[in-house]
């Protein structure tokens, strides 16, 4: 198979994203990562929930499952468990992943399936034209919060660290090379890999711009120990500066490893027959 370019992973469908949306750059980085890894589009699955970022699967030529709001992760887990040879990547936004679908993030971290989860965080609900999201700054007033915001924002990377997500990184959509490399490593990571991407919305959240983000971000030190969860948490604690890079990496058994292990145990339990069919299952009911 000849090496592919990022463009060769794009579909004919024109994105509905606004001009200058950060998600274009995430799409570029993701397809570049796919090219680097020489993934076969037909062997790759993107799952998504609902939102601007969740439209991304339509813009690639891989298989895709665009589900309902918040459910990208359970769909990805089912896809991967039933079809373990495929590369499975979930994509979505901050509202989809941390609000309506927040619960699934905890349990995906517990299961540790071998999938990658890319969140494009613009700190706003943009498809519905600008309402506060779980990552919105406390000062952001919108039409549904016209006076003041009563909720605190969450910290996605710190949250992932507390759930012991097995790979955690943060990138900025403008820093293509770093983001591409991060996504490559996330896909290669055997386990649940979370990539938090700062991806500004230029229409509905004017407080989070390319420039403002550029000023907020700072790279993790080159000698950051990605096996040290406590140190990683210290870097993750601050909103200003926002540290960028790979925070944490823990190679442990994946969901697939565990399911295969219990399969072995289930067969040990009946003395490892050379063949076991539905007829054998029926015998216990005779």
């Amino acid at each position: 198979m000849s090496p592919k370019t990022a463009e060769q992973y794009r579909s004919q469908t024109t994105p509905t994203w606004c001009k200058d949306c950060g998600d274009y750059k995430v799409l570029d980085a993701l397809t570049a990562a796919m090219a680097k890894l020489e993934l076969e589009p037909d062997d790759t699955v993107l799952t998504a929930g609902v939102g601007c970022a969740s439209r991304l699967p339509f813009y690639t030529n891989t298989y895709g499952f665009h589900t309902v709001h918040g459910r990208a992760l359970p769909a990805a887990i089912g896809t991967k468990v039933a079809n373990k040879e495929r590369t499975v990547i979930s994509v979505g936004g901050d509202g989809d992943g941390f609000s309506i679908g927040g619960n699934h993030f905890i349990h995906a971290s517990r299961k540790n399936p071998n999938i990658t989860y890319i969140i494009m965080d613009n700190e706003i609900y943009a498809l519905t034209k600008g309402q506060n999201s779980p990552t919105s700054h406390e000062d952001l007033l919108t039409k549904i919060n016209p006076y003041e915001v009563v909720e605190d924002r969450i910290n996605p990377v710190l949250m992932a660290l507390s759930f012991n997500t097995s790979f955690i990184a943060r990138g900025f959509c403008e820093d293509q090379e770093q983001l591409t490399d991060m996504i490559v490593q996330a896909i290669k990571h055997p386990g649940f890999a979370f990539v938090h991407v700062l991806s500004p919305c230029t229409q509905y959240n004017l407080k989070v711009t390319y420039d403002s983000l550029r000023k907020r971000i700072k790279q993790l030190p080159e000698d950051h120990d990605t096996s040290d969860r406590i140190i990683s948490m210290k870097y993750a604690m601050t909103h200003e500066p926002l540290y960028m890079g790979i925070f944490y990496k823990d190679v442990r058994l994946t969901l697939h490893d565990k399911l295969e292990h219990l399969r072995g145990m289930s067969l040990d339990d009946i003395g490892n027959p050379s063949e076991y069919t539905i007829q054998d299952v029926m015998k216990q009911f005779e």
Binding site: V68, G78, Q279, F285
Partner: protein, 591 residues
């Protein structure tokens, strides 16, 4: 037809359910038909009674019977609570270890006062008193000859326990049997009772039947969230699925469960989830996703009393509206309602066949009384069972993007799964074009909605008509659904003995609504009785709305039950009797 109906009642901890299960298995393995009814308190250690009713017969049976021949009671309160269910001339076996009441007021019965608990302590340990009770019962019915099966089923039931415990239980049973033969006066009916065995059978609960049906149909992915009373399905699949190269995963909630199952279906696996009412409510949105993205999936709802948390261990048929109408949008799906355990097995296979063939979600409506009761299924060979698979595309060129939702004559479009070369597409909950690009254009939504519903039309043309029972000439018709059909059919037999000619229709396919079958059935009927276990008459409302316009003169009666218990045959018969005697003497056909 020879048969014996036994009811065992006691407190949680008396081992009522275990002994009932063992007796059921042993009777079935010996070739007799069995049907059971179990009821136990919601709280693990409540004050309510545990009840196990078991009907053993030489012929196929539809219910676990209204009245019993033998009542085994561990305490006075439960004996008194259940005495009305004992047939005239029936037998009481009472644990007299700590209660010397002789119940002189119960004159019509044969009474055995057996110090069950004391005998258990003497033969083995106090905890084996349920096995002593079984020994007493079988000692009184010597022609049953199932002692060997009982012993092997004790072994199976307690296989996870130490050998000592197993031996104690077997000892208690055997010694009680011998003790009865030597010490108790014989009871003529039981002493002579012969229930002929009739060939090999499978015995299982309704939940197990659905789990097995799924495996036979080729289900290799299950994701679920624990919920009473559906968990038994997941338990069996968790044990067996890995051995068959499938996977079971526990999810964080019902929304994740159904979405994971849809992910697996998208991946090409036959997938299922099971739940009860609260879970089905949570799954509604994703059921719409399955309809829209045209992904096969089977969803089992073992109904319990609702709304909200309701009555987790009590039975009801009140999720029909949710199953048929519960999802937003115009949502093609199929809803099936098995009538007994055997039907639960075969309908689950059908559910997978329909789901895969028509690429729709299929909901199976079972309920507590059906899911938990054990019954026999006639022996069959798995190889003889027909299994359908989804429509695959012809050769894919790979040059042009695969058009997943191509319009066809049947509405069914070929489907691929990840890994298939040239088959990449996006399954989506958004309205989409034939090539799965999102679209909100008026003509696209109209055409694709019609396409999705076209599949139901195709399906309907292939469905075998609903089953009928009774005389085609009858002017009195009864329509019922799900597990209510057992008591209805038995009531028709009772009515026949009274000279009432009645015919029943019991559709197992509830949606697409069987309008045509019902209209055909109603064509010559003058009275219609609709029987179901809910307050609102959920089937009746849909039925009257859709079907009775063809026969405007028909008199419609409802029989609803909504106290958490299943119907008895007598309740249905009483209603028939009341309708006929009250207003319609002309329906007496022969005297």
């Amino acid at each position: 037809m020879a048969e014996l109906v036994i009811r065992i009642v006691g407190s949680p901890g008396d081992g009522v359910i275990s002994s009932g299960d063992i007796l059921t298995l042993a009777a079935a393995r010996s070739g007799r038909y069995v049907s059971t009814y179990r009821s136990f308190p919601t709280e693990i250690r409540g004050v309510d009674q545990s009840l196990y009713q078991l009907r053993i017969s030489s012929k196929k049976i539809l219910t676990s019977a209204d009245e019993v021949n033998v009542l085994i009671a561990y305490n006075e309160r439960f004996l008194r609570d259940n005495i009305s269910g004992l047939k005239k001339g029936g037998i009481i076996i009472f644990d007299s270890s700590e209660n010397d009441n002789r119940f002189e007021e119960y004159k019509k019965f044969t009474k055995y006062f057996v110090p069950i608990k004391k005998l258990a302590e003497e033969f083995a340990t106090e905890r084996t008193k349920n096995m002593v009770a079984l020994g007493v019962l079988l000692g009184l019915t010597p022609n049953f000859s199932i002692n060997e099966q009982i012993k092997s089923d004790i072994r199976k039931k307690y296989e996870t326990k130490e050998e000592e415990v197993i031996e104690a239980n077997i000892q208690a049973f055997e010694k009680a049997y011998t003790w009865v033969r030597q010490n108790l006066e014989k009871e003529a009916f039981l002493e002579k009772l012969v229930i002929e065995p009739s060939g090999k059978k499978f015995v299982m609960s309704g939940c197990e039947a659905m789990a097995l049906g799924a495996l036979v149909a080729g289900c290799r992915f299950y994701s679920g969230y624990p919920i009473t009373p559906a968990t038994e399905i997941m338990e069996l699949l968790a044990k067996e699925m890995p051995r068959l190269n499938g996977n079971v995963i526990q999810c964080e909630d019902e929304i994740a469960s159904i979405t994971a199952a849809l992910g697996a279906s998208f991946s090409g696996a036959k997938a299922m989830t099971a739940t009860s009412g609260p879970g089905l409510s949570l799954m509604s949105e994703a059921i719409g996703l399955a309809s829209m993205a045209e992904l096969p999936i089977v969803i089992i709802d073992v109904q319990r009393g609702g709304p909200s948390t309701g009555l987790p261990t009590k039975t009801e048929q009140s999720d029909l509206n949710l199953a048929i109408y519960g999802t937003h949008g115009d949502t093609p799906k199929i809803v099936l309602a098995p009538i007994n355990v055997e039907d639960s097995f075969y309908q689950t296979i059908k559910a997978f066949n329909y789901a895969e063939k028509y690429q729709v979600p299929v909901i199976i409506l079972s309920d507590v009384s059906l899911g938990e009761r054990r019954e026999c299924i006639d022996y069959f060979d798995v190889k003889d069972i027909e299994v359908s698979n989804r429509l695959k595309p012809g050769k894919l060129c790979g040059k042009k993007a695969f058009s997943r939702y191509t319009q066809t004559y049947t509405g069914i479009s070929p489907i691929t799964c990840p890994g298939e070369k040239g088959g990449a597409y996006i399954a989506t909950g958004l309205e989409h074009t034939e090539s799965s690009a999102p679209s909100s254009k008026p003509h696209v939504h109209a055409a694709m909605t019609e396409k999705r519903f076209k599949k139901l039309e195709t399906a309907q043309s292939e469905f075998i008509s609903a089953r009928k029972y009774g005389d085609d000439e009858a002017k009195f018709g009864i329509i019922s659904w799900g597990s209510t059909s057992g008591p209805v059919l038995e009531a028709i037999d009772l009515a026949d003995k009274q000279g009432y000619k009645i015919q029943a229709l019991y559709p197992r396919i509830i949606y697409p609504f069987p309008t045509k079958w019902i209209n055909d059935f109603l064509y010559n009927k003058e009275i219609l009785l609709i029987v179901e276990r809910n307050y609102c008459g959920q089937l009746a409302n849909t039925l009257v709305y859709r079907c009775t316009c063809l026969n405007k003169d028909i008199k419609i009666h409802n029989l609803m039950k909504y106290n958490g218990e299943p119907f008895t045959t007598n309740e249905v018969f009483s209603k028939i009797d009341q309708i006929i005697k009250g207003q319609y003497l002309k329906f007496m056909v022969h005297q």
